[in-house]
Subunit: 279 residues, 2 copies
């Protein structure tokens, strides 16, 4: 049975007993509303760790939009059942006051890599991510942490932060899990209408077409403009970004001289979809 | 023999072997130029840990004044001899490029407590402290860290940061060590002229007089003004601050309803002296 722990003091004791037996602890930080994307991280953690902690915490500090925070789906009972099936040892689901008690005053921020793309459209978002992830690493004292490539920029920010702060943990990125029609799995997808859900896979499809065009020599700007026009015609918008970037530093790229990643964020109805692919 | 280690990778391996044997590691973070104040921390660490790491790193990120950074005294050979005498296991003395390699982009900042006093007179200082201390805790993976009360505000900032980021380490504050005449030991004292050195103990003496007056009912502002006037007449200045504050939060106090600390920073010749006492 997956044990539910809500206090970091109790978690610390649990982890201490594991560590005394020389066990490698893996952590999968999530905001709940678990889907197959999360479960693929859980399975990776199971394979590569002796004990697995999944954390569920909808982190207010990383939401710049209060409405998005409020609407974020929550279903712990369902989540717990999924984790139990996968043999997860601990679900760590602290309350807000446990993570940010009165007097809390510390922030972890990563400059450069966290500034464009999501950083530009969600001010403060990555400070919130970097801070809560540092805390979760301290609370769980895990040796390995599993993050999805779906949130590509987040993964790079976390890697940078862990390296910069010498946090003794290994970050493992896991491929984006997609529906059969190509839509990247996301907890926000449940908020799409039937019609929007039918259009949503176009995002990934047009990104693939653009990536193929770039690899075949089409200028980057042209390939991206074509994709944007096609998607806008299909009802996508407003656009936050559709860009080609260095996969690690997220600096802008206008060619394939460096490892490249195409990243997109765009509205579809009331939902903001993000996706990214290797180019 | 104290082993000198300069790379965090080598330190990590060393610490891993200790931890596998269940040893408790203590760390004393310093900027070198070691004196009896530091050595009292080292002795506390020896008593309360199985293995002791002393770090020496003159952290550019916490110096807001490049001249102060340049003039900061350095004598590793002498420091190493002192540490060796005390049976310190490892001197970790990384270079700047080891601590801040190319691409470094992460900052730890603590709001509130780090803003007044030293924070107001040394902009960015405590960001530099919080960041490097987080890094040193990650590199050493120590279970206990020893800091002097001489840098009282720093000690409170570190405590706050460790609690806020859930870093698995216990912070131990150790009393300020003073010369026989009451002057708080500091690596900067060597830069005082003979005449300045003779006046310097007046700072602590007048602070004690003011503290006694406050305890006896003299209004805080009056007691502090008297001390300031006496010290200014004795050649101290310019003043950064002489204040009574809550000992933990460092919020201003005008009475003794809460645990109180008197803190001072003042020039004497070319040197900036700091001191603090319980009231």
């Amino acid at each position: 049975m997956t044990q539910v722990i809500r206090s970091s003091a109790e978690l610390r004791e649990k982890v201490a007993t594991w560590k005394r037996s020389g066990m490698l602890v893996g952590v999968v930080p999530t905001m709940g509303a678990l889907h197959d994307g999360h479960m693929s991280l859980v399975r990776a953690a199971r394979k590569q760790s002796d004990r697995v902690i999944v954390t569920i915490f909808v982190n207010p500090m990383q939401f710049n939009n209060p409405e998005d925070l409020e609407k974020y789906p929550r279903d712990e009972t369902h989540d717990l059942a999924l984790l139990d099936e996968e043999g997860v040892d601990v679900l760590f689901a602290p309350g807000v006051a446990e993570v940010y008690p009165a007097g809390f005053a510390t922030k972890v921020s990563v400059s450069g890599i966290s500034e464009p793309l999501e950083g530009a459209f969600r001010p403060g978002h990555f400070d919130g991510v970097a801070t809560v992830v540092t805390k979760l690493f301290g609370m769980t004292q895990a040796g390995r942490a599993f993050f999805g490539e779906k949130d590509w920029q987040q993964l790079q920010v976390v890697r940078r932060m862990v390296e910069d702060l010498n946090i003794p943990i290994r970050i493992i990125g896991c491929p984006t899990i997609r529906e059969d029609d190509g839509l990247a799995m996301s907890s926000r997808n449940v908020r799409l209408s039937t019609e929007e859900r039918a259009s949503a896979p176009r995002l990934h499809a047009e990104m693939q077409i653009a990536a193929a065009a770039i690899r075949a020599g089409t200028p980057v700007a042209e390939a991206l403009a074509t994709a944007k026009a096609a998607l806008s015609a299909a009802g996508f918008g407003p656009w936050d970004y559709l860009e080609l970037r260095n996969a690690e530093t997220l600096q802008p790229l206008d060619g394939l001289s460096e490892p490249a990643r195409m990243l997109a964020a765009v509205g579809l109805g009331e939902v903001r979809l993000i996706d990214n692919i290797a180019v």
